[in-house]
């Protein structure tokens, strides 16, 4: 009997713990959003972060985008040619990039490239007691350190995802038109006929903004909550990659179901 009660109590404690954790996370998220608005008054800090997060991720995003475009061009051609409709290669490349691959792959790469460095930076600041020192000086570390990084990541990811898609379309064009020999005119005209600015490009952009919020929040939250030991920081960095990748994929499923279900 007592063991049954214990088990029920453990279940209850687990549920309460989950709820408390979720509430804490949500409040931290809202606080970051509000403080990011205030961080706009100090654009210097935000610009520095956009440079650190965005510019330094450019090379990996552009190169991956180009190669994803290459591969889409090749694979799409082999499939479409079986149906005699290789003219539709442009639509296939553009739609898959703009709707899905651009935002998602850019967000995954971003989580690996920029998210980890944010987590490690914040975690080390915490373990080096820099954040505590700031609090001692009556400077809110969330406002001074975390909010500019949050805003910088939220600004940088949609831009990176758009560049990924654009470079990918260009890669598909290079392979499809110049390597394989699909007609350039029908490549572009079918693409323009098949891709809608608002329902495809716009929704892709909305997706990447949402992913920007997710990646930035996960990276900063995990870093801020990391145990202030070398091992804790290492574990937090791993958690960032795993958690933000899974969150991005889950959110992508939800957003796709909402946006393109009709």
């Amino acid at each position: 009997m007592t063991r049954l009660l214990d088990a029920i109590a453990r279940l209850g404690a687990w549920v309460v713990g989950m709820l408390v954790g979720m509430g804490y996370g949500a409040r931290f998220f809202l606080r970051l959003c509000l403080l990011s608005l205030r961080a706009l008054r100090r654009p210097r800090l935000v610009v520095d972060q956009v440079h650190f997060i965005g510019n330094h991720s450019l090379s990996i995003i552009l190169v991956s985008g180009l190669f994803v475009g290459f591969v889409l061009g090749l694979q799409g051609y082999y499939t479409l040619q079986a149906f005699g409709s290789e003219q539709a290669l442009g639509v296939l490349v553009a739609l898959s990039l703009v709707r899905e691959l651009g935002p998602v792959v850019a967000a995954l790469l971003f989580a690996g490239r920029a998210g980890t460095s944010l987590t490690a930076e914040i975690g080390l600041m915490k373990s080096g007691e820099q954040l505590l020192a700031m609090e001692m000086m009556a400077v809110d570390p969330v406002a001074r350190v975390l909010a500019p990084r949050f805003l910088g990541a939220v600004i940088a990811l949609p831009l990176l995802a758009s560049m990924f898609s654009a470079v990918g379309v260009f890669g598909g064009y290079l392979v499809g038109v110049h390597l394989i020999g699909v007609d350039a005119g029908s490549f572009w005209s079918q693409m323009q006929a098949g891709v809608d600015v608002f329902s495809d490009v716009g929704n892709g952009l909305i997706k990447s903004v949402v992913f920007g919020f997710i990646c930035a929040f996960v990276a900063l939250f995990v870093g801020y909550e990391a145990r202030p030991t070398p091992e804790g920081v290492a574990r937090a960095t791993t958690t960032t990659v795993v958690a933000s990748s899974l969150a991005v994929l889950a959110a992508d499923f939800l957003l796709t179901a909402l946006m393109f279900s009709t």
């Binding site: 520095d48 956009v50 440079h51 703009v98 600004i155 758009s162 560049m163 809608d196 600015v197």
Partner: protein, 155 residues
């Protein structure tokens, strides 16, 4: 790295991102092709619109002259009412007829306008009276089978 270089690099980064969005909107998407500066709307009623969708092109002589604005069902006549926006530059006679056509064998459906010979032009908000419905493949097959069956019976 000094202040100015950072600012410059960030500026370039943001510009490149905006350029990518613009490229996606204009070159990949169809922003350039549907933003008619001014247009006037005309309506038409069809018995069956098949798979016509809003924002499908309205073509005349193969040239895109407008877009389908809205599609609704008229519960009095039990017909589909299609509202389309025609580019201001193009004028059509009053007795223009509208038909729902398919580009290619299985391509998307669009509205084809064939102009008549009336000296007066269609006014904004007017209704095209002569319409031809979409060809529904199932009906076509049904008619074909029916024709074959009656042919077989007469032999």
């Amino acid at each position: 790295m000094n202040r100015k270089t950072t600012d410059l690099l960030v500026g370039l980064f943001v510009l490149a991102g905006l350029a990518a969005i613009l490229f996606l909107a204009l070159k990949v998407g169809n922003l350039a092709s549907f933003s008619f500066a001014d247009g006037y709307s005309v309506t038409a009623r069809f018995d069956n619109i098949g798979g016509l969708k809003t924002r499908a092109p309205v073509k005349s002589a193969g040239v895109v002259v407008g877009r389908v604005q809205s599609i609704s069902f008229d519960s009095k006549t039990f017909q589909a009412t299609v509202e389309m926006e025609i580019d201001e530059r193009y004028r059509f006679p009053k007795d223009t007829s509208a038909s729902i056509l398919t580009s290619g064998l299985l391509g998307e459906q669009y509205i084809g306008l064939s102009p008549g010979g009336d000296p007066d032009d269609l006014e904004p908000g007017e209704r095209i009276t002569m319409t031809q419905s979409a060809v529904v493949l199932e009906n076509l097959i049904g008619q074909f089978l029916y024709g074959r069956a009656s042919e077989g019976g007469s032999q």
